[in-house]
């Protein structure tokens, strides 16, 4: 997929102008925030479980090499295959090889962000194999030839009227006068159309929410049941997973499951949590004959052992973007790659390079809501700051911004001059604002005043107030 992350600013401007998108985005706030809060409040142990989840992943990441080895051994023991992929290209070729060996014509797919990351759909299509997304949201955006705009609600940017248009344009074998006004009828139609695809597919590809080292098991957490049909019906099940999905034991995964769905959709538990271990056994009468796991690195080993390792705790619940004012305003596509919102702002530069993804960590007000709701307690704002520092160190910001920062730093290192300058600037701004108390124009601040007034400073400066408070203290 084409990365448009460097064009984040112009993407964001377009997104703000897009009325349809703005209407669709209103559902994010309605749909997720209150539900998460209610689910968290209803479980007294929720905060402790967040601590445990963080600790489990920290332990795992600091022993990641060993847990990966243990996991691989168990997969092989249960009759499955493990393929190691250093790059997206390696992963695509591994998948293609497996498909070719069984002469696959169609591949059904459960929802997988890794499959988006490696761009498997376009690749398979180019090789003459038809990929079919089966998660309702993913199916909708596949018809629209779009990328997901949210990691758990990929079609959150689409209105139901648009879904109706897409279904009418694609499902041309159905009567034209059918009623598709309600979401229920749209869901029914997708169910019927996709049912046959599930039964016909030669290979099923799913992602993985967790890989369990103790048992060699992959886990998917879903609501629709499409992932289960995807992995149960075809001859071959391929799991696409990144290295950091490893979790030591069934007990550990139980802890994290309790915070996953609550943080994501506000459910206590998603409808289907499915554990898969190896291919069909002798005692089985259904299930795949082959089970393959593709373990993807694609830049993650650059993060372990660095200040970005905490990001690898992420379990892709989407809570950070659900609570992000920037995501609410511009949606997911503006971020320009696979991962949007705060987690994307940290992960994208990590995986694609700060030269491409550097704008994203700047698209934050540092309000801190993302960190406050992250079930894995990932310090997202702190890591965005790390990226801003790297960007500055590598001279990647625009000249004006660099000059501004250096100018400010010069003053900041000279406190008396800074205090004096601030006092003068404050008075000046107050005089400029006059009786209105607002500024509609500000020197060097047109980016701000173009869209709204700047409230004029009043009273004393922070430093003055601070100095007064110190008087009398010892």
């Amino acid at each position: 997929m084409k990365i448009t992350t460097p064009e984040f600013k112009s993407n964001a401007v377009e997104a703000l102008k897009n009325q349809t998108l703005q209407k669709a985005l209103s559902h994010v706030e309605e749909g997720f925030i209150d539900k998460r809060q209610m689910a968290a409040d209803a479980l007294p142990e929720f905060e402790t479980l967040r601590d445990n989840a963080r600790d489990i992943k920290n332990h795992t990441l600091s022993h990641l090499d060993l847990y990966l080895e243990a996991y691989e051994e168990k997969v092989i023991e249960s009759g499955g295959h493990v393929h190691w992929a250093q790059t997206a290209e390696d992963a695509r070729n591994i998948v293609l090889d497996i498909c070719r060996k069984v002469g696959a014509k169609t591949v059904t797919k459960g929802k997988s962000m890794i499959s988006e990351e490696i761009g498997i759909n376009d690749f398979l299509e180019g090789e003459g194999i038809e990929p079919i997304e089966t998660d309702l949201g993913e199916y909708i955006i596949q018809l629209r030839n779009e990328a997901p705009s949210h990691i758990i609600a990929p079609a959150v940017h689409v209105l139901k009227e648009q879904v109706e248009e897409d279904f009418r344009a694609t499902h041309t074998h159905l009567p034209e006068d059918r009623n598709l006004e309600e979401p229920e009828t749209l869901l029914d139609e997708a169910r019927t159309v996709l049912r046959q695809k599930f039964l016909d597919a030669d290979v099923g590809i799913t992602g993985a929410n967790f890989l369990i080292a103790e048992t060699g098991t992959s886990i998917i957490v879903t609501n629709e049941g499409n992932g289960d049909l995807t992995q149960t019906l075809p001859k071959v099940h391929i799991v696409l997973a990144s290295l950091e999905k490893i979790t030591p034991t069934l007990e550990d995964v139980s802890q994290i499951l309790r915070v996953l769905a609550r943080s994501a959709t506000g459910q206590d538990m998603s409808v289907y949590t499915t554990f898969s271990t190896g291919p069909r056994r002798e005692s089985d009468v259904d299930g795949p004959e082959e089970y393959h796991v593709v373990l993807l690195d694609n830049g993650r080993t650059n993060m372990v052992g660095t200040e970005f390792q905490d990001m690898l705790r992420c379990i892709r619940c989407g809570a950070c973007m659900n609570h992000c004012p920037v995501y609410h305003a511009v949606g997911g596509h503006a971020y320009g790659w696979v991962y949007p919102g705060p987690m994307g702002a940290v992960l994208t530069p990590s995986l694609t390079g700060v030269d491409k993804g550097g704008q994203l960590p700047n698209a934050s007000t540092f309000c801190g809501r993302c960190e406050a709701v992250c079930p894995m307690r990932i310090p997202l704002p702190k890591m965005m700051r790390h990226w801003r520092e790297r960007e500055f160190e590598r001279n990647l910001n625009p000249t004006a911004q660099r000059f501004g920062l250096k100018f400010w730093a010069w003053f900041a290192k000279r406190p008396r001059l800074y205090g004096l300058g601030a006092k003068i600037a404050m008075r000046g701004l107050a005089i400029m604002a006059g009786s209105k108390g607002r500024l509609s124009f500000m020197p060097l601040g047109r980016g701000w005043t173009k869209y709204r007034d700047m409230p004029a400073p009043e009273g004393k400066t922070f430093q003055q107030m601070w100095a007064e408070k110190q008087v009398g203290k010892t």
């Binding site: 994010v28 749909g31 997720f32 142990e45 489990i56 022993h63 090499d65 060993l66 990966l68 080895e69 168990k74 190691w84 250093q86 390696d90 089966t134 309702l136 949201g137 909708i140 609600a153 990929p154 209105l159 139901k160 979401p183 749209l186 869901l187 049912r195 599930f198 039964l199 080292a213 103790e214 048992t215 060699g216 098991t217 609501n223 049941g225 049909l229 290295l243 034991t249 069934l250 802890q255 959709t265 459910q267 206590d268 538990m269 409808v271 289907y272 949590t273 499915t274 554990f275 271990t277 190896g278 056994r281 009468v285 259904d286 299930g287 690195d297 080993t301 052992g305 660095t306 390792q309």
Partner: protein, 224 residues
């Protein structure tokens, strides 16, 4: 160097370049062997009666329906009644589960049972759960000829029988029961934790039941 070795050695270098590898290996082996439990929510830690009550309550909160019967011999009538109430034909798809097969089906002669995996043409699937979890009203089903996985997902309606003694308070207890089936570290091919009927919120975040899996889920608890 193979991709595998390159990845593993890079990780090792970065997370534990100069650490004692023996101690690291011991830490991992110990955690895998002892599988320490974390925090277990108090919610599910109840006596059998209250656990059953909580299990049904949590299941009903996510649009599952439940009924309790006194013995396995009452299961066929409970199934037949459910089908009548929902205007469904008297036919179920099921595996060769011994507890289900051993029930007295003579009282429901009109009810046909097709045994084997589902091919997608069945309206109703009947399964026996391995266990359940009261804290979220979750069923745990395991694959095999007794309860094929396709029966859990392809039919429009799913009826699941569970024995009251198999309802655990928490996930850890239930998963440990699954672990004991084949010995530690050996899982059945598929374990399905099911919490309510299939649903999707992908169109404008409105939750609708019956996405790709069953549109309805009915639990029959055997409380003998």
């Amino acid at each position: 160097m193979s991709a595998r070795d390159a990845i593993l050695s890079k990780i090792r270098n970065q997370v534990a370049g100069d650490e004692d590898q023996t101690a690291r290996r011991a830490a991992v082996a110990n955690r895998l062997a002892t599988a320490p439990k974390g925090t277990i929510p108090a919610r599910g830690q109840l006596n059998t009666r209250d656990r059953l009550k909580l299990f049904c309550q949590r299941a009903e909160a996510v649009s599952t329906t439940t009924v309790t019967v006194k013995s396995y011999d009452d299961v066929p009538e409970a199934v037949a009644e459910y089908l009548r109430n929902r205007n469904l034909p008297q036919a179920v798809r099921m595996g060769d589960d011994e507890r289900l097969g051993g029930a007295d089906w003579s009282k429901t002669p009109a009810l046909t049972k097709d045994v084997g995996p589902s091919d997608g043409s069945d309206l109703v699937g009947l399964s026996h759960a391995t266990c359940g979890v009261a804290e979220t009203g979750t069923l745990v089903l395991t694959s095999g000829s007794q309860n094929p996985t396709t029966v859990n997902f392809l039919p429009e309606n799913h009826i699941v029988v569970i024995h009251v003694s198999d309802i655990a308070g928490d996930y850890e207890t239930a998963l440990d029961q699954v672990r004991q089936m084949n010995g530690k570290g050996r899982m059945p091919r598929t374990v399905n934790m099911v919490t309510g009927p299939s649903r999707s919120g992908d169109i404008e975040q409105k939750i609708l039941l019956g996405a790709h899996g069953p549109r309805s889920l009915h639990i029959v608890v055997v409380d003998d």
